[in-house]
Symmetry: C2
Subunit: 246 residues, 2 copies
């Protein structure tokens, strides 16, 4: 893991890093975080680790709660080149949208493939971050909507170091339901009630599929990507409940 840049202000330190070709960013409080939880932030599809949404959430967690936060670019996103195969799926998605056909086959193929590649990358990132003296053996949470859930749900299904997660707003397919049925950690699901891209019924079914004994779903008005700002703090409080050591 190689740190590439460091920007620091009164209340947060932002360091970008490279981990064997995975571009990432780590946000920490300026003074020692003393075993504070680490929140992994999965960016939405088409965005990247330093997009306004992930950065705003990271800032909130670090400056208000003293947490650590980290994000990496998903394959083909941000600083990473899109593969020819990914490009074909993206093209197929655009063509389907233009033709008024179902996006399901192309989104499913793309998201399943991205998750297969991203899950081991996140696990390697956890290994590397846990090895830093300023992070160490802390409790870990994950949060990500849309693609961040398409990757995060299979990740939470196999990675026991993730102890609580926020998901939502995600297009569903059988592979994602299979993964959800293996998730047993506490989860908070966000469901935009007026999402015109993703049928609300599939959101309810995904919540139902999660095997977590402790799960909560926050349904809010608004469409895809229109999660109200107060949900960022609700997520932080959810992490506090489940990740802060007593």
């Amino acid at each position: 893991m190689k740190f590439l840049s460091c920007t620091s202000s009164d209340d947060i330190v932002e360091r970008t890093f490279d981990l064997d070709g995975i571009p990432g960013v780590l946000w920490t409080p300026p003074i020692g975080s003393e075993g504070a939880p680490l929140i992994l932030i999965g960016h939405p599809g088409g965005q990247h680790k330093l997009a306004p949404g992930p950065v705003a959430r990271a800032r909130h967690y670090v400056t208000r709660y003293g947490f650590n936060a980290a994000a990496i670019d998903a394959p083909g996103h941000g600083d990473r080149r899109r593969s020819a195969e990914d490009q074909r799926w993206v093209d197929a998605m655009m063509a389907a949208r233009q033709a008024g056909e179902s996006l399901a086959p192309s989104i499913t193929a793309l998201n399943v493939s991205l998750a297969e590649r991203a899950v081991p990358e996140w696990r390697a990132t956890i290994d590397a971050l846990s090895g830093l003296s300023e992070i160490g053996d802390v409790t870990i949470g994950y949060g990500g909507l849309t693609l961040g859930s398409a990757i995060g749900i299979p990740l939470a299904a196999v990675e026991p170091r993730i102890r609580a997660a926020v998901f939502g707003g995600v297009f569903t397919y059988p592979e994602l339901f299979d993964a959800a049925r293996q998730v047993t950690i506490p989860v908070q699901v966000l469901l935009p009630w007026d999402d015109r891209e993703i049928d609300r019924q599939t959101g309810l079914e995904l919540f139902d599929a999660l095997a977590s004994p402790e799960k909560t779903m926050h349904v809010t008005t608004g469409g895809h990507h229109q999660v109200p700002a107060f949900e960022t703090d609700d997520s932080a409080r959810f992490y506090v409940r489940h990740l802060r050591r007593r």
Copy 2:
């Protein structure tokens, strides 16, 4: 309005009162609350104004947030005698339950009638509380599950002084949907996902029916009356968002 008793501790003052035959209770911080919001608490069916649930919520709002809180006994509940007609509906409900028949006709008749009587009682209570020098012209919120929603939804539909409300866990019928369609204030709905008494689909339909542009629903695991304790604080934060004057 006649105060009947006063109990005070380091962090809360509890005064019971009688308002023309309506037994009520007012909780305030021990030192002036300086225009802090007033939260009206509607108790669940079969309970009363001083049952553990309403008292715990009132304590939380007053001691953690400096709010004022008040509750009254619904007709036929707590210190109030049940009328012969109410008793016939309750008997019909018990008989239906024993016979494995639908409770819908008796619950609907009882709840519609209780709401018709309770709505003007709550409005008179608001008049009386607003007339107290220590309360005055404050912003008002309402919160109540089950019967507290059967009464609170029609109340919020007609009483403009109520500016935000928490509802949930309520048996639904056409009169309640009609009232919900007239509610336009911010609402937070609680939906116990595993409620065996009330079908979750009716909870989703009720959320959908509320005409409020700003509405949020918190779905939690557990059955009827099993709302997790952290939702009390989530409700308080919802009231803060909508009731606290800037």
